[in-house]
Amino acid sequence: MPGADKETDLSERIESFLSELKRCGSGAGSLRGSAETARETTSLLRRITAQARWGNAGELMEIIRKEGRRMTAAQPSETTVGNMVRRVLKIIREEYARSRGSSEETDQQESLHKLLTSGGSSEDNFRQHFAHLKANVIEAINELLTELEGTTDNISMQALEHIHSNEVIMTIGRSRTVEAFLKDAARKRKFHVIVAECAPFCQGHEMATSLSKEDIETTVIPDAAIFAVMSRVNKVIIGTQTVLANGGLRAVNGTHTLALAAKHHSTPLIVCAPMFKLSPQFPNEEDTFHKFVSPHEVLPFTEGEILSKVNAHCPVFDYVPPELITLFISNIGGNAPSYIYRLMSELYHPEDHEL
């Protein structure tokens, strides 16, 4: 039966996506960038919308929430998956509201009156059936996908506004966004880039070779030399894994040191992050914030005799508080860290913060 085939096909795809997510998290930098993960998640969600069985918006949201929980559980550190799920849920709510004909502004803003009087009764509203809801939702998801395709280009287009000639720019590790950003600026301006290699994975080496191929003067420094050379740096431009709800960052380890050194020398710290990295998490969740990988990266097995007596740690991420950040550059333009909470309320519905 065609229905059953579609369902098994769908569940197969979901399973394969989950297993890929699980495999990707070895910490050696994802085999795919966050942008690809976001795109794949969104296409998978579109497929679920198209092929799964659901009667009204509420059921659809339940299905998506369930799948979303499974996906985030597969790889908790890959927050773009959860972000995309929340975006799609918001889309569904919007489309539903539009089909019902009610204005959206009042729905979005949590006025004090609404909080006190209605008290979460909006759940039942999603039970109505609309014929065109599916098509509208799929169309909206397609728009989301096109937006995702263009994020890197949007960010790189702003490069010339922020980089002038003869600057010394410092970065850490490898970020595809920052790479595109710098390459775009290098087409018109000459500047010098210092890349901190970010042990133990040394992704900075890849970044440096890729930048130097575009004839950008690049220097690779070990992490220990970050403060030593910071006095000659004009700007620090970094990428990040996640932007947290308070405007802080969850970035690759070593970034907090870089941010402190930049603050000490009053060097501006610019974060290039597309909007799909914005996540409604806060950094106080102790057990889910940090992710560790095998300590043999730090202390290899060749040091055998002391290995058993020593604790070795290899954290992957660092928390950078929002006070150290000067500017966020995203596909919708430049923002201060203090504005992040507004952007978040536009992207996600507060009830979706907990999937």
């Binding site: 133990p200 080496h205 992490d223 030593a228 050379v229 402190l260 740690h313």
Partner: protein
């Protein structure tokens, strides 16, 4: 020795041109003979007279002339005032003594004459001989001329790599001393074009023929150990240097018609040049060399050779014992007071002194655990880790990029130092300033442990003007079978930077523990002044 005296003779002849005795001496020199003792003494008396006359005629103008004759090659303006401002003892610092000879001969001759005169008069006054009023005048304690005299210091050669004139001078000097010149390797980052960058695969000993007649074999071995990184660490290098010098002194025999005090110092100069070609001298090594040279020149001419050699060897032993071994005992005693039970102590890299302190504290039954922070490419922390674990101390090991993660657990930070500069900055392994910075952000106290013999009169505010560049190939690493930087030489715009030292500003450091006690960072010039007056 004969060379330099000869040149002075020439210059003095140019200046005065009428002294009959100097003609004799000139004749003797031109015949390539070594001058007899009497002739030398006559020469010295002449110069004293000369100096006295000159001093009366033109005091200040002479000083200015000497100042301007200091290397003219343009240096960044910030450097030269800094160097000139630092007071310098009248005894030649190693850089001065090894400086090249292309200066306007007159001022150099005068310098040397002054120096010679002072040394003579010192010795004379020590032996109780009276040679006239002028002696007592010039034998005043060197402290007073020091403080007021503007610095005649020349820039050390190893920060003038971007100046072709200085490079030529160096090449000539090394040729004269028969020391091989080491060539730079690889593309240098433009910010550091004033420093040398050598490759470990091309040691300087490749160009020395066997047998090496000019350089003593133990010095050759020492140089090779330095350049390959076999001996690393400020204390280890100084101790190895002193032991090698002991061997040199042992094998030394005074040639006829020479004084041990003069000749031995001259014999040491090419060795020092060779060692600095292998690896730039550290501040502690510089101080040790100064001490040895002073001791050698203080040997009276009355002393027999054997006795002199024994005296020198015991001086060296005493230096090592006092300044390094006993100092570390004293520092441990002070530092252990600062370690309490339940402490979590963070250390960086491998400092022999800090390791010693921790082992002592563990023996004294203090309960603490240690976090060892390490960094690429040297990974010296593993050595420290081995030593501490062998003692039985509980350790954790992280790389420096995980510092922000581990610091909330830490109660104290202990750091070692390579040198303490006169403006309170701590010069240490690269990464130390980072640790101090992040510790300050988390409000963790930072304690630096340093012996007083590492105190240095230089001043420096950033890690660029004077540093050491290590072999850039060390940064290359192979992960998952891929080596991204393998062919970095072929890519024109790619550079690798492997710094060795950095400077930590004094506001990050809470306390410095020395063998004289626990002092704040800013008291370093006080200690230096006290030491100078003592000597």
């Amino acid at each position: 020795m004969a060379d330099s005296v000869g040149r002075q003779t020439d210059s003095i002849n140019h200046a005065t041109g009428e002294d009959g005795k100097s003609q004799d001496i000139l004749r003797a020199k031109s015949e390539g003979k070594e001058m007899t003792k009497e002739e030398k003494q006559r020469l010295r008396k002449e110069k004293k007279q000369h100096k006295k006359n000159k001093k009366d005629d033109k005091g200040p103008p002479e000083k200015e002339k000497e100042k301007t004759s200091v290397p003219a090659p343009s240096k960044p303006v910030t450097q030269s005032p800094a160097h000139k401002a630092a007071p310098v003892p009248a005894n030649a610092s190693p850089s001065e003594s090894s400086a090249a000879a292309e200066k306007p001969a007159k001022s150099k001759a005068e310098l040397r004459a002054e120096r010679r005169a002072r040394q003579d008069s010192e010795r004379a006054s020590k032996q109780g001989k009276k040679e006239g009023g002028q002696q007592s005048a010039s034998s005043k304690p060197k402290a007073t001329p020091n403080e007021l005299q503007p610095v005649l210091k020349r820039l050390p050669e190893h920060v003038q790599v971007d100046d072709p004139a200085a490079l030529k001078k160096l090449a000539k000097k090394l040729e004269r001393q028969q020391v091989p010149l080491r060539s730079d390797y690889g593309y240098k980052v433009s910010l550091f074009s004033h420093l040398h960058q050598y490759s470990r695969k091309h040691p300087p000993t490749q160009q020395i023929s066997i047998p090496a007649t000019v350089i003593h074999p133990s010095i050759v071995r020492l140089g090779l150990q330095y350049s390959q990184g076999i001996i690393a660490g400020s204390n280890a290098r100084s101790v190895a240097l002193l032991h090698a010098f002991k061997q040199v002194i042992q094998d030394y025999s005074t040639p006829p018609n020479e004084e041990l005090s003069r000749d031995l110092v001259n014999k040491l100069s090419p060795y020092i040049s060779f060692l600095s070609q292998c690896r730039p001298l550290s501040a502690s090594m510089g101080n040790a060399i100064k001490y040895i040279k002073k001791e050698i020149s203080n040997i009276s001419s009355q002393c027999k050779e054997e006795e002199a050699k024994n005296r020198l060897q015991s001086c060296i032993d005493k230096y090592i014992n006092e300044k390094i071994i006993l100092a570390s005992e004293a520092i441990s005693k002070y530092a252990i007071e600062k370690i309490s039970d339940g402490d979590v102590i963070l250390v960086y890299g491998c400092s022999s002194l800090v390791n010693h302190i921790l082992c002592e504290a563990f023996e004294k039954q203090r309960k603490f655990r240690v976090i060892v922070v390490d960094s690429r490419p040297r990974l010296e922390g593993r050595e420290a880790l081995r030593r501490l674990v062998k003692k039985g101390i509980r350790c954790t090991y992280v790389l420096i990029s995980a510092l922000s993660y581990i610091l909330p657990e830490v109660s104290k930070v202990f750091l070692g130092a390579h040198a303490l500069l006169a403006n309170g900055y701590v010069m240490s392994r690269v990464g130390t300033s980072q640790i101090a910075l992040v510790a300050k952000a988390y409000n963790v106290p930072v304690l630096v442990c340093c012996e007083t013999y590492k105190f240095c009169e230089r001043v420096q505010t950033d890690s660029f003007v004077s540093n050491e560049l290590d072999d850039p190939d060390d940064l290359i690493v192979t992960r998952n079978g891929k080596t991204h930087l393998e062919n970095w030489q072929t890519v024109k715009s790619l550079g690798l930077l492997n710094l060795v030292y950095d400077v930590t500003p004094p506001d990050f450091v809470d306390l410095v523990i020395t063998d004289l006690g626990m002092i704040p960072c800013t008291s370093v010039p006080v200690v230096l002044r006290v030491k100078n007056v003592d000597q």
